[in-house]
């Protein structure tokens, strides 16, 4: 039976260790666990926060579709995707993907695939709020994200 992914779209922060433990505790069939954490970055020191807007309902539905696609492609023992929304200050967590499998290559590829598809298909949009108080602006989609996603087709 294929595993059921755990999907959450939430404002509060997540705990990557607790999520990993949910996929491994009490089991002996997990040989590899790959965890990806995406954080709010601000090297230039110009941001007060990124504001994440999402499409409630579709965000969960699309993340579930992407997760199920990954489960169909790789022999996973567990898969968790958490995406935050709302205002997120620099240094804070935005997204978490945890993929567990008997085998390391499956766990790596599933997590990598999931992030590529999430970037281009999950209905979230980032707006930058500036320290300067200037007009906040929407982050533009990058062509490289489409290229990354195209690696899996």
């Amino acid at each position: 039976m294929p595993v059921a992914p755990r999907i959450s779209v939430q404002t509060q922060d997540f705990n990557a260790q607790a999520e990993a433990d949910l996929l491994t505790n009490g089991r002996k069939d997990v040989g590899a666990l790959v965890s990806f954490t995406g954080l709010c970055r601000d090297e230039a020191g110009t941001l007060t926060a990124l504001e994440l807007e999402h499409y409630p309902g579709m965000a969960e539905a699309e993340l579930t579709r992407i997760a199920e696609e990954a489960i169909g492609r790789w022999p996973l023992t567990g898969l968790t995707v958490i995406h935050r929304f709302g205002k997120i200050p620099p240094g804070d967590n935005i997204v978490l993907v945890v993929a567990a499998s008997s085998h390391r290559r499956a766990a790596f590829e599933a997590a990598d695939f999931l992030m590529d598809y999430l970037k281009t298909r999950a209905p979230f949009w980032k707006k930058e709020h500036l320290v300067s108080g200037g007009a906040s602006s929407w982050v533009e989609a990058r062509a490289v994200d489409d290229e990354d996603a195209a690696r899996w087709t």
């Binding site: 995406g38 994440l52 807007e53 999402h54 499409y55 309902g57 579709m58 539905a61 699309e62 995406h83 935005i94 997204v95 992030m115 999430l118 970037k119 281009t120 298909r121 999950a122 209905p123 979230f124 949009w125 980032k126 707006k127 929407w138 982050v139 533009e140 989609a141």
Partner: protein, 83 residues
């Protein structure tokens, strides 16, 4: 039909959500976009760069040539930038 807007599409239209009676001539997403553009200058401005806009019908991504069929909700938004 329920219409939703997100990110800068929402800001240009000026509303998050609206309910619209579709004329019988509106069969596809393209037809719907043409109809919305005709409503007022805000809609026209939001859909000005039509290629930059993505569409979902009942929360599933579709192309603009998709038939609207029985869909109850259409959503318009820029390319996604989550993750």
């Amino acid at each position: 039909m329920n219409i939703r807007y997100f990110a800068w599409v929402r800001e240009r239209v000026g509303i998050e959500e609206e309910t619209i009676e579709l004329p019988g001539t509106v069969k596809t997403v393209s037809d719907l976009i043409a109809h919305l553009k005709s409503l007022d200058e805000y809609h026209a401005s939001a859909f000005e760069e039509e290629d930059a806009i993505r569409v979902a019908l009942d929360q599933v991504h579709v192309e603009t040539d998709a038939e609207i069929g029985d869909a109850r909700e259409a959503a318009f938004f820029p390319p996604m930038t989550g993750g």
